[in-house]
């Protein structure tokens, strides 16, 4: 060791100065743990919020990709065209899957859509229809709650009853509710057979926003006249905020 090792010589001066200062700092640790826990909770809440936002963005992005794809069936007529259109759409992985002629699509875009305005393959109400399949879905989730099939006569009656309706039913109450309560809990996809393939009108009657019939290009108010034509059997809901305000459905 050198005779005058600076560390040996001056190190104790640092140590002494630090000890003096720390002893007289009068810093107290009271409340540190509580503040730490509070911050951790806040961070976790923030993280959960971010995660939820990401999920919402992903869900909305997915819904948009489904809606944006359109999935408009082209050519051919008759029963063969529906599976063809569905097959084309399945290859893109975004459209309803038609497992059988009589079954409702198990992966229908209506399940993830809170705003029913954008129907991917909406019906032009001036188009003649040759049949109707009504599919009642849980929203979100997409579980098929019920389905019924109707012949050409009833199908056309439904379209005729819808196309004369105004944009909204002024007799229905206007609700102000929290976002959670505003979301629909179920909806019905009216799947009409047309010369161009399956075309749809979505019916929204739960939640507390935008009830009515949606074709993708037009909105019609929720009235009892069309509802009573197809809300039968397993497609008939027990009630909802708006249905409870309607009579005669």
């Amino acid at each position: 060791m050198p005779e005058h090792d600076p560390e040996q010589e001056l190190g104790p001066k640092f140590a002494s100065a630090f000890q003096d200062r720390s002893a007289t700092s009068e810093l107290r640790g009271a409340g540190l743990a509580a503040v730490a826990r509070k911050r951790v909770r806040r961070r976790r809440r923030a993280l959960n919020g971010v995660a939820a936002s990401v999920l919402v963005v992903v869900a909305v992005g997915g819904a948009w990709s489904v809606l944006g794809s359109g999935g408009t069936p082209t050519n051919s007529a008759g029963s063969a065209e529906v599976p063809t259109a569905a097959k084309d759409n399945r290859t893109q992985g975004i459209a309803p899957s038609y497992e059988a002629d009589t079954a409702c699509p198990t992966d229908h875009p209506i399940k993830g859509v809170e705003e029913a305005g954008a129907v991917p393959a909406g019906l032009d109400v001036s188009t003649p229809v040759t049949g109707l399949q009504a599919c009642r879905y849980q929203v979100p989730g997409g579980e098929v709650l019920g389905h019924e099939r109707f012949d050409a006569k009833v199908a056309q009656q439904v379209v005729d009853a819808i196309k004369v309706l105004p944009e909204r039913n002024p007799a229905l109450p206007v609700f102000k509710c929290a976002p959670e309560a505003a979301r629909p809990t179920e909806a019905i996809a009216l799947r009409f057979s047309t010369a161009a393939g399956i075309r749809e009108i979505w019916v929204e009657y739960t939640g507390c926003t935008t009830p009515g019939f949606f074709t993708g290009s037009r909105t019609y108010g929720l009235f009892a006249a069309p509802l009573k034509l197809f809300m039968t059997g397993s497609v008939r809901p027990s009630g909802s905020t708006y249905l409870n305000a309607l009579t005669g459905w």
């Binding site: 600076p6 560390e7 010589e9 001056l10 190190g11 104790p12 001066k13 640092f14 140590a15 002494s16 100065a17 630090f18 000890q19 003096d20 200062r21 720390s22 002893a23 700092s25 810093l27 107290r28 640790g29 009271a30 540190l32 743990a33 509580a34 503040v35 730490a36 826990r37 911050r39 951790v40 961070r43 976790r44």
Partner: protein, 177 residues
């Protein structure tokens, strides 16, 4: 059942964390104060470190020396401040003397003040190395790990600080003479 067990474990961790901070909080603050030279910065550094420790207390509490673990977090928090905000004080050529030399019986006190004043002028990493060496009594290898530098660099930090102190004390001695 699993959820209930997890909740009970979380409660137990919270109690343990509270007790540990109750025992070690003051010491952590003192260490941070010596490290940063500022009470507010010390409180911030400790609070940040404890927040991180709280979030992963199960792991921290299983460490061989939880106090050393948290002190390392304090040092890291301090270093990260350097990186994020470049908030270090600009070193000056000559330390400002904050206490006049006491002629009788208070030489040690005056020296202590001079050392503290000198530390305020040191670059942050140099100061951290000095604190870790003489307050925490760590080896140069340990200091190097904490400061993310080589052992030789840690040694160099400390020896530069010692040289500065020697110069300061020599000047003061000459002035007092």
């Amino acid at each position: 059942m699993e959820a209930a067990l997890a909740a009970a474990e979380a409660r137990s961790d919270a109690i343990e964390f509270e007790q540990w901070v109750g025992q070690k909080g003051d010491a952590l603050l003192r260490f941070a104060y010596v490290l940063t030279g500022d009470k507010s910065l010390a409180e911030d550094a400790v609070q940040d470190a404890l927040t991180t420790a709280c979030a992963r207390w199960a792991r921290v509490s299983r460490a061989d020396d939880p106090e050393a673990y948290v002190k390392r977090m304090v040092v890291n928090a301090h270093i990260s401040w350097w990186r994020r905000f470049r908030r270090r004080e600009a070193p000056v050529e000559d330390p400002v003397r904050t206490a006049s030399a006491a002629p009788d019986g208070a030489v040690d006190r005056a020296e202590s003040e001079a050392v503290w004043a000198l530390c305020a002028t040191l670059p942050d990493k140099q100061r951290a190395a000095v604190v870790l060496r003489f307050y925490e009594e760590l080896s140069y290898a340990e200091i190097g790990v904490l400061l993310h530098c080589a052992e030789a660099t840690a040694r160099s930090h400390v020896h530069r600080a010692l040289a500065a102190l020697k110069t300061t004390l020599s000047k003061e001695g000459a002035e007092d003479a």
